[in-house]
Symmetry: C2
Subunit: 267 residues, 2 copies
Amino acid sequence: MTTTAPFAFDSDTASTRVGDHTYELELTDRWNTPAGTANGGYLLAVCVRALRGEVPQPDLLSVSAHYLRPGTPGPARVETETARIGRRTGTGAATLLREGKEIIRVLATFTDLAAAEGQTIELGVAPELPAPEECVDPVTGRGKVAQTGIGERVEFRMPQLRGFWGGELGRAERWEFWMRFTDGRDADPIALAALVDAAPPVIFDHGVRASSTVELTAHIRRRPAPGWLAARVSTRHLVNGFHEEDFELWDSTGALVAQSRQLAIVP
Amino acid sequence: MTTTAPFAFDSDTASTRVGDHTYELELTDRWNTPAGTANGGYLLAVCVRALRGEVPQPDLLSVSAHYLRPGTPGPARVETETARIGRRTGTGAATLLREGKEIIRVLATFTDLAAAEGQTIELGVAPELPAPEECVDPVTGRGKVAQTGIGERVEFRMPQLRGFWGGELGRAERWEFWMRFTDGRDADPIALAALVDAAPPVIFDHGVRASSTVELTAHIRRRPAPGWLAARVSTRHLVNGFHEEDFELWDSTGALVAQSRQLAIVP
């Protein structure tokens, strides 16, 4: 399922440089969550993409975002600042504004992942999932998952439609499933940092129906191979309305490509 | 083992306001790591403490730090900026500079943890450790752990001195142990965010002997009860020289109080 460019992620995260460290764009509603506001991973990707043009290193390595206000469609501005450009890594800051008000603040560090040299020790294991073709699409399957906004941009394949995905309380601590952009765009480091926020939170399996990100950090561990990504998401602690969500993405070769954690609040 | 104030953590993280959003302090060598540079948790705490005075919410909730250059002892400056002050949370940015050069960049969000209301669901479990009195002090025990700088500021109690702590290769994915400030200062939210970076990295159990933080994010989940903290630290992926380190701190009542992850590079 491949379409010709421009893919939605590329056209919707692009901004135009209008001055030193200043960019403008139109935030679209095509990445809205069912709550009616822009997905946090989309907003993060807008910031990181503007910043990437200001550092020599090609790959996002680590990004931290603090979410200040909900993102709504319309004209927006990104203001960036480079903090340090080193030989191996480059770091900068970005702020996304709507009507003069800050929506998110981001710090991001870039590197050349292809030039990373050093020891590799793997103690983690990839999700054990049937092939995507043998899994169920929760949208066309018997699940009741909204298919507007980000629900149209990202698709999933689950081994079974249990718990939340089947319209019930599953009380799971962890979900594992496949995901990718619906229009066939393969993931790159910035896309990985958006995709870790693109699935319904696993805390929904406990009856929670809304969750807003306070902070999200994603680390990119490798450039991903093309194809489906295997996701593992878990939440262990909902404490007085705040919960963490850990997210791993593994590429089609079975290699870990991204790790993230977010702290979110149940309104 | 309690001394009278001032405790080292309080005196060494204090800075003096010298202008709008500008603070000065003397970075000490009392929190140096065996590598001879300032511990990253100490540097983070300096920034967060300056910033906390500028927001109405009393408790650190979430902090993200990108490490740009090693910290060395001497005169330093903190520059802060408030991003958004809301009813429930307040967010700001801070930069620590030495001789005009940026050492770390921080984003931090504060809240009133005592006023947090909402559902609690706990699926995680605290480390199962013998009481601290039944554990071994790796400094006075048969371990060979340096006791200068941060090694004097923080103490540990381990069930056994195995692997790295016994001078051998343990190849563990996870360590669990007790920790606290040596001078008897109890932890508060900012101290928790420093303590998650105060232990030797578990990747040392694989023969690695140095590791520099690229990014560290800590989430404070509860105000901690006084006393020892139970720590759980794990690293699953060392990829081309980069590794994550996950850290949990549980207070003396068995409640999760902090979660952190850092991305670090093996030089």
